[in-house]
């Protein structure tokens, strides 16, 4: 662990924006990529400061997605040849964490998403594949309640954005900020889909989304530039949907 921390110190990551919003992604990815042994343990609910990071969603998205895409580029050789996943060893006992209800204005989220669809069309057309954009545009005609971005479409959006980020189709900070309305649209879909569900059922929805990401990985590899893919290596670690309680060590 100290080696890992020291490595982070050497990379000056603790003084960057990554340490504010993208630290979870950075630590997990770097730990896996470094070849260290990774496990998970339930430490309780992760309480976010109400003023942070929701105070500025666009800035938060920029840092989190920027960190994620940068790490994808950095460890391209590692993830591009992986297939499948395997469970992460669990230390201690799993337990369900009670979460506080969150009030959200879904109409406003959908309104933001639709404004993005209209006003950011030229930018989204550059970032997204034609098929992805067409599917998103078809949602324009639905009512607020029916405006639902399915898992497969969302995965396509994220993979298209990652590819565009790598290829520098447009300025990277513009690309990341332009994803905000899309994220709000997807969040509204998630709220619709999980309204009235228990935490466990909501976790299952997230787990299903993770499997969709895994299943559609060939879509990303195909679009992600040319690197010659190596023979399949042993499966890496399997994600576990535990933002409410899981912590990596």
């Amino acid at each position: 662990m100290s080696d890992f921390y020291q490595n982070g110190v050497n990379q000056h990551v603790w003084e960057t924006e990554v340490a504010r919003f993208g630290i979870d992604i950075w630590m997990t990815t770097e730990a896996i990529a470094s070849g260290g042994r990774v496990c998970q343990s339930f430490l309780g609910a992760k309480i976010h400061n109400p003023k942070d990071p929701a105070a500025d969603l666009s800035a938060m998205l920029t840092h989190v997605m920027g960190a994620l895409f940068a790490l994808m580029e950095q460890h391209e050789g590692l993830w591009s040849r992986q297939e499948g996943s395997q469970p992460v060893p669990l230390i201690g006992f799993p337990y369900e964490v009670g979460v506080e209800p969150v009030h959200v204005n879904v109409e406003r989220m959908v309104s933001h998403y639709r404004q993005g669809l209209t006003d950011l069309e030229p930018i989204w057309r550059q970032i997204l594949a034609d098929d992805t954009f067409t599917q998103l545009r078809d949602l324009q005609r639905t009512s607020v309640a029916d405006c639902h971005i399915p898992d497969e479409l969302w995965v396509q959006v994220v993979y298209d954005a990652a590819t565009a980020h790598r290829k520098r189709i447009i300025r990277r900070d513009h690309l990341l900020k332009a994803l905000t309305p899309l994220y709000l649209g997807r969040t509204a879909s998630f709220v619709h889909a999980t309204q009235g569900l228990t935490s466990t059922e909501a976790e299952q929805k997230i787990e299903a989304l993770c499997h969709t990401f895994e299943r559609m990985k060939p879509y990303l590899v195909e679009r992600w530039q040319p690197p010659v893919l190596q023979p399949v290596a042993p499966a890496l670690l399997h994600h576990t949907s535990t933002d409410t309680g899981g912590a990596h060590e």
Partner: protein
Amino acid sequence: MNEFINQALLGPLALLGHQVLAVLPNVLAMGIILLGGLFTAWAFGSFAERLFRIIRFDHFCDRLGMNAALLRGGVKTDPSRIIGRSIYWTVIMLASIAALGALNLTPINQFAQSLLAYVPHLVTAVVILLAGYFLSNFVSQAVLIAAVNAGLPPARLIAACSRWGIQVLAGAMALEQLGIAQHIVVVGFGITWGGIVLAGAIAFGLGAADTAKEFLQRRLMGRSKSSTGDDLHHW
């Protein structure tokens, strides 16, 4: 009669012949300079283009996002080619001016010198226009995204205003640099820009006083009433 023929006809012809003979070496020199300039321009242009391709300048520009920016601006030529052609035409222009100077005729010399003196202004104006174009694209895109993320309905209008504002400013600066109607451009631009700012200030003061008040309250006194009931902030 012979004397008349010698003085009236052959005299001018002989004088013309002397003048032509006197200018001929200069014309020859001009031709040689032009041909040499053409060859040098071709050689320098091709060499520069190949050199930039060898050092993977296009790839470097691609990494910086310049190729995409050029494509967005309707330029489909790669950066190495653009540099090669720029060098070619620069050498051609310099060779033409040098060739005109070789004629050693006072009016042409003056014209060539004034043309040469104008070149820096021309280059500066082109640089200003190009910089203005790229800056306006960058700013309008940033403004558009920020306005959409802030949920402002006229996001496109705001972005278009920022784009045209910068392009008009760059155009005015370029015209001033070229010395074209300097005073009119400066005065016209000042009046237009001042008018826009004044109109914006009046419109904001009359139409958006409540919005400004709410914004300041939110900034200075914390969350406003409108944000209650929604735990997720959208901007």
